[in-house]
Amino acid sequence: MKREQLLDAIGFINDEAVRDAKAYQSPKRHYGSRVFVIAAAIMLLTSTAVAAVWMLLQASDIAERKGDYTLSDAFDSEKAISINESITSEEYTFTLLAIVSGDGISDYIGSAMQRQPERTYVVLAIQNADGSPIQKEDLFDLTNNFMVTPMIRGVKPWVVNAASMGGSFSDSLVDGVVYRLVECDSIMIFANRGLYLGVCAEPFINRDTFKFDESTGEITVNPDYPGASAVFELPIDASHADPEQAEQYLERYEELAE
């Protein structure tokens, strides 16, 4: 076989795929350029703290750096939801990059997967709000004292969070930015309830970490919380929900919730 035969054979790839490849324009590319313009305007008008958003790595880059190519592909696929939203609290800016859920979307197999093969993966970037790079020696503190967790509207976050949902995480420090990759049981089954991603400056969530409204189920930042914290609303289509499975899933927490 000659390499030029390969080149000729590639010429017979089906027409629709060939047309689709050229027609495709990455939404990330468009988003990036829009963010660039906004960021540049902010830089000119105010501080430089927020302007670094467009420079962040993508969630797929983080997965690839961890050698998880399947997860990297999943973050690049249509299944992923690209968010790129930032919240500054105290001395940190948190940027939620992307979220993806599914079965078999990681090269790594953990014990939690045997119980719940459908997993959710989220990547969040943590930057110093003043624009200075996070130092290597600060990584230990951040890793041990920050929690990033999905939360479900109407469900007490100190009961159901990443720690109780078969969760794990890993941090990478790249160019002064900490990227946290969080994995837990899939949250898609709760999509019709409303979902959040919470960030707080402690390793576990207690009753006072976030404000939980018993009547509406809303979870928001607690204004009295003594540290950096943020709550992102996750834009997940309610059609992904599986209310029956969601009920079953939550049954195991009922005793704890009392």
Binding site: M1, E4, Q5, I10, I13, A21, S77
Partner: protein, 186 residues
């Protein structure tokens, strides 16, 4: 003008078919040819040959996707032209680089002289490409069908160049595995 109307012009043997094709798909064909040949004069010649070939092909053909139909002609004509030129002298354009990369996909057990049936090989490649996740498939096609440069692909997809290179490398290794298995049957 709609593609169907352009195809009808070919079938009616109207000379407007060429001008309408040029208006709508001239740039598309030019970019494919230029990626392969790398110079304006040869590219223009390839694009004109594409129109002639299209004129001779319709009828009897009535392509479902006119753009890809024309693109395939341009690609074939340009690669043939490149082969003639490089029989004398090898350049360093995208096709040379892409061919060097495709070397990695050739199973070592087979002699380089040994040829396999093109149609069978095309089926294997098509199955492989269609089995890739959509984004990967698009990247593969842009690199090895359109012969786009790595930097052009990274811009189109919003990926870093190293990510595109890594993705293509993994695809070539996967293709090598498939060809090693499948070409024993071919």
């Amino acid at each position: 003008m709609e593609d169907d109307s352009i195809v009808n012009l070919y079938w009616a043997r109207s000379e407007n078919a060429i001008s309408e094709t040029s208006k709508k798909y001239g740039d598309y064909c030019y970019s494919i040819a230029y990626g392969i040949l790398g110079n304006a004069e040869d590219t223009a010649e390839s694009v004109n040959d594409t129109y002639l070939d299209a004129w001779n092909s319709m009828p009897p053909h009535r392509p479902a996707i006119l753009s890809t139909f024309l693109g395939k002609i341009t690609r074939r004509i340009s690669i043939d032209k490149w082969r003639k030129q490089t029989a004398e002298k090898r350049g360093s354009n995208e096709i040379t680089l892409a061919l060097d990369e495709l070397d990695e996909c050739i199973p070592t057990k087979r002699s380089v002289e040994e040829e396999v049936e093109l149609a069978e090989l095309a089926k294997v490649i098509d199955r492989f490409v269609m089995s890739l996740p959509p984004v990967q498939r698009r990247v593969f096609i842009c690199r090895y069908w359109y012969l786009d440069s790595i930097s052009a692909i990274s811009q189109q997809f919003g990926f870093s160049q190293s990510k595109v290179k890594m993705m293509l490398h993994r695809q070539r290794m996967k293709l090598l595995g498939i060809l090693e298995k499948e070409t024993n049957i071919l």
